[in-house]
């Protein structure tokens, strides 16, 4: 059995590769056949196919056969997963912002205080 996060690792790995990231960004504008992608991003056709395979395996992309070509379209589902995962972290940067705010206020009031204990 697999780790519950394994899907996320795979998604991260897929997006960590610059050319795949570019493909994802490109497909955001709409579906494209393989050759188109290669031309647009200046990649050899076999490499495009291979990258698309990886993207398909993690569910970031889906194919539709259109005569002899394949139309690849972005499937945002894994990105939505990522978004849900980030949810847990949003509180952190809000908190950070408040801390920063506090520091600024402290500076403004020129108030000197001893280092507070961490919670």
């Amino acid at each position: 059995m697999e780790n519950i996060w394994s899907v996320m690792y795979a998604t991260f790995a897929a997006l960590a590769e610059p050319n795949r990231f570019r493909i994802v960004e490109l497909l955001r504008a709409g579906a494209r056949p393989v050759n188109d992608i290669g031309v647009e991003l200046d990649l050899a056709q076999p490499q495009v196919s291979k990258h698309l395979r990886v993207l398909k395996e993690v569910g970031l992309v889906e194919v539709e056969a259109r005569a002899q070509q394949r139309l690849y379209a972005l499937d945002p589902a894994p990105l939505q997963e990522l978004d849900r995962w980030l949810e847990k972290y949003r509180a952190l940067w809000v908190e950070r912002f408040e801390q920063l705010d506090e520091v600024i206020n402290a500076a403004h009031t020129q108030e000197k205080r001893r280092g507070r204990k961490k919670r």
Copy 2:
């Protein structure tokens, strides 16, 4: 000069490694010294140090010296970047949802229509 996305690739690469991902998840609850992390996640100390180095390089973590130990804390800034990047994609899953909705409605009304052209 670097690609504007290079920071994102690095963040993705950092999070694609299961043990680093676990470290990030662990640090969400608060800062920890190196040894603590190793014990908690059952990792050898050198590996923890190495993973922390990578996390620090991408800015996901920051260190505070505390006597002879180092307290590692999560820095959510890169995650916030990620969040901002995802912003552009949120519209996609909303759109998907609406398409799905449409399909459901169509099924409910038993309406038969010819395949519409893509926009």
